[in-house]
């Protein structure tokens, strides 16, 4: 789907005030998923989400994604969407791959605004969709020093 429409749907932000992580509510991400799959129900599983069960710091959490796929012209992953239901902007990133990728894998570092479930939706060739979720406990620092610069 078009990127602009996807991002517009994902602007479930609250007013631009200070947002302490523990006050984040769980957003309804069903519309985001619907927009990706054009209303189709994605198949469960087939995606390995690598996230630490406990993230010491929500500012930078290592994420690895692996979708089971032969990555041939006939059968490959086209895109992987990452959604964080408690982040002020739940749409985190969309990765675009193809048969030229060889494997449907990607790694990055993401932000998590508190303990929550991360949802990953994969878009496959032939209008197929997969979905998986992982819960991450996010801790907070003891000595926060915002404004110490």
């Amino acid at each position: 789907m078009k990127r602009r429409a996807f991002l517009r749907l994902s602007t479930l932000t609250v007013a631009a005030g200070a947002l302490p992580a523990d006050a984040q509510e769980v957003r309804d991400i069903a519309p985001l998923i619907q927009a990706i799959t054009h209303g189709a129900t994605p198949e469960e599983g087939g995606i390995e989400i690598g996230l630490p069960p406990i993230a010491e710091n929500g500012h930078s959490v290592p994420l690895t994604l692996k979708v089971a796929s032969p990555m041939t012209q006939a059968d490959h992953v086209r895109a992987i969407h990452v959604i964080a239901e408690r982040n002020p902007r739940p749409a985190v990133a969309t990765f675009h791959l193809g048969p030229w990728s060889g494997r449907a894998e990607v790694a990055t570092r993401m932000r998590l605004a508190g303990t929550q479930k991360v949802t990953v939706v994969a878009v496959l060739s032939g209008d197929r969709f997969r979905i998986a979720r992982k819960e991450v406990v996010v801790e907070s620092g003891a000595c926060l020093d915002e404004g110490s610069l």
Binding site: E56, C143, L149
Partner: protein
């Protein structure tokens, strides 16, 4: 050790044993970080500090008014080897103890005729990270005799003085309570060997002075200004306290 530390907590100025209480069990800051943070630090590509090291490396050879760091100091991998491990140190030109970033600015202004680099700027942190990297793995080795001694004593006194609304001295956490948990964090020994470091809390790199200011903030004390005598004195005492520990800058910290 417990009784000795309780006694130390009762007095506010330093009249204590010369050796730090953790002697024999000195641990670098990375030992108190999570596995993810340690993995990030030891990966020379993924460690975000590599961006600033590269910046510093580029600055090293860049000409200002026809002069460059390389023009006097040649290949930093040779000339800067072990240098960061000896800072802070007494500088005759400055007439006082200075840290590495002040030494860099001394060269930038005096040697290159360029404008002083701002504290915590990408440019200054880049140079500091690049130079500190050349001491990685080498033991901290600062001099506290002669003209440096008064500054070391001032740093030691401050280290053992309770400050702020929380009425805590550095020693209360970093000597008496290292290894214990505070919320979800493990309290470190407060060793300075990883700085400048990328702090996840800041989402960018910072100097040891920025981290110390954050500690003052943490106990709800007024933060000393960048470059102030209090901060340099503390830096010198901490470096002496860390003597023999291998440098691990530029590090990653939560």
């Amino acid at each position: 050790m417990q009784r000795g530390c309780v006694f130390a907590l009762c007095i506010s100025s330093a009249a204590l044993a010369a050796d730090p209480p953790h002697a024999g069990r000195a641990r670098n800051g990375s030992e108190f970080q999570s596995a993810d943070v340690r993995a990030l630090q030891s990966d020379d590509f993924a460690n975000p500090m590599a961006l600033w090291v590269e910046r510093g490396e580029a600055s090293w050879s860049r000409a200002y008014n026809g002069r460059s760091c390389a023009g006097c100091h040649g290949d930093a991998r040779k000339s800067m080897k072990g240098v960061a491990a000896r800072y802070p140190r007494y500088d005759a030109g400055a007439g006082e103890v200075i840290d590495l970033s002040r030494r860099i600015n001394g060269c930038v202004v005096g040697g290159l005729g360029a404008r002083k680099l701002e504290a915590e700027s990408d440019e200054l942190l880049g140079l500091e990270a690049y130079i500190a990297l050349q001491s990685r793995g080498m033991p901290v080795n600062v001099a506290i005799d002669g003209p440096a001694h008064a500054t070391w004593e001032a740093g030691r006194e401050l280290y053992f003085t309770r400050i702020g609304q929380l009425n805590l001295a550095c020693t209360n956490c970093h000597d008496a309570s290292w290894g214990k948990t505070l919320l979800a964090e493990t309290i470190s020994q407060g060793q300075p060997t990883g700085w400048p470091a990328y702090r996840l809390e800041w989402q960018r790199p910072g100097s040891l002075q920025r981290r110390l200011r954050a500690c003052f903030n943490g106990v709800r004390a007024a933060m000393p200004a960048y470059g102030s005598h209090d901060l340099v004195a503390l830096e010198l005492y901490l470096a002496w306290r860390a003597r023999g520990l291998p440098m691990e800058a530029p590090a990653v910290r939560r």
